[in-house]
Symmetry: C2
Subunit: 199 residues, 2 copies
């Protein structure tokens, strides 16, 4: 098959996935707005015309990446919701979010940095708000069961725990020393029991 990746080497011969991947990586290094199409063509070693043969626009690259991030998070949330008890649902969404965030780190990073500067960004932020809202419901439910401190506002508690979770995109590297599965367990432990050793 000539579609084989190894056989394509010699002169570029990029496909759409190459462009998306390189674009997302560059957006994360420099920021979406600070990255020009020229920056991207330079990194890929092609001209603008070649790039526009694969994608419709710079914004489309962002759109595709954001969809991958949101699809992953929403899927993790749906799975978490199938668990029978509030405690299981809460731990499932914490684990699930960390898993998606490490598995699709570049795409989720873009999502978390959005400012709503275009229709695409605003639509993605709206999907994210719905996700956050449902997670807040899970936290509130866990509070009612006495699994989470009830003296904290559910919204604040959710923001704090997801602040911790989401910050992982800023330093986690797939090829680094931190095991993503272990990290999920550690975050769950710190979120529920804190940094202080249990007596």
């Amino acid at each position: 098959m000539p579609t084989n990746r190894a056989q394509r080497r010699g002169r570029p011969g990029h496909d759409r996935d190459d462009v998306i991947r390189a674009g997302v990586q560059l957006f994360n290094e420099q920021g979406y707005d600070a990255t020009s199409v020229s920056d991207l063509t330079t990194r890929l070693g092609v001209t603008k015309s070649a790039l526009y043969h694969h994608v419709d626009s710079k914004a489309q690259i962002l759109q595709i990446a954001l969809d991958e991030a949101l699809d992953g998070l929403e899927e993790a949330l749906q799975t978490a919701l199938t668990h029978p008890t509030p405690g299981e649902r809460l731990t499932a969404i914490v684990d699930g979010a960390v898993r998606v965030l490490t598995a699709r780190q570049p795409q989720v990073t873009l999502l978390l940095r959005l400012r709503g500067n275009s229709d695409i960004e605003m639509a993605a932020l709206e999907r994210r708000r719905r996700f956050d809202h449902t997670v807040t419901d899970l936290v509130r439910e866990a509070q009612a069961e006495g699994l989470v401190r009830a003296d904290l506002d559910a919204g604040v508690a959710t923001r704090l725990i997801f602040g911790m979770i989401n910050s992982v995109v800023e330093w986690y590297r797939p090829d680094g020393p931190v095991d993503p599965a272990l990290l999920g367990a550690e975050i769950r432990a710190v979120a529920l029991d804190g940094l202080r050793p249990r007596p």
Copy 2:
């Protein structure tokens, strides 16, 4: 005195502080790179020439704001270091960081979103790295005393707790319902003891 703010009303009559304040606010709404000088002049209701009478460049506005953020954080760190015990030093820097972050929210927000796209950004990131490094030392010290779980890498623990703290800039509003002093205590409690109710 004609320098009085109320008496300046009528036609714009801005000063440098007005420009900085509006610039930082706009940078936070849209992102630094996505904000054009024209966006800023539109918000202020003046022309570009008027704006450039007050500041040398768009980058200078960023520079001034970043210095305010970093000065505040470094000051809080120095104060924390004067405390006699590791436990006090750790709680002091957590409280201090939350205090600076709520008091200078716009400036710190800019700092936390930097990508290192210019010399100014890289210099600020270097100062921030030094801050993070010293805080990690405080966490390591607290681990040695048994005040913080020793099974966690000090760097990971620091990143998780500051992930929680720093995420506050994304939703805290000075005129909102959350009291900044209370928030500091709550974050300290959640960071040390977790979300689960203590037995």
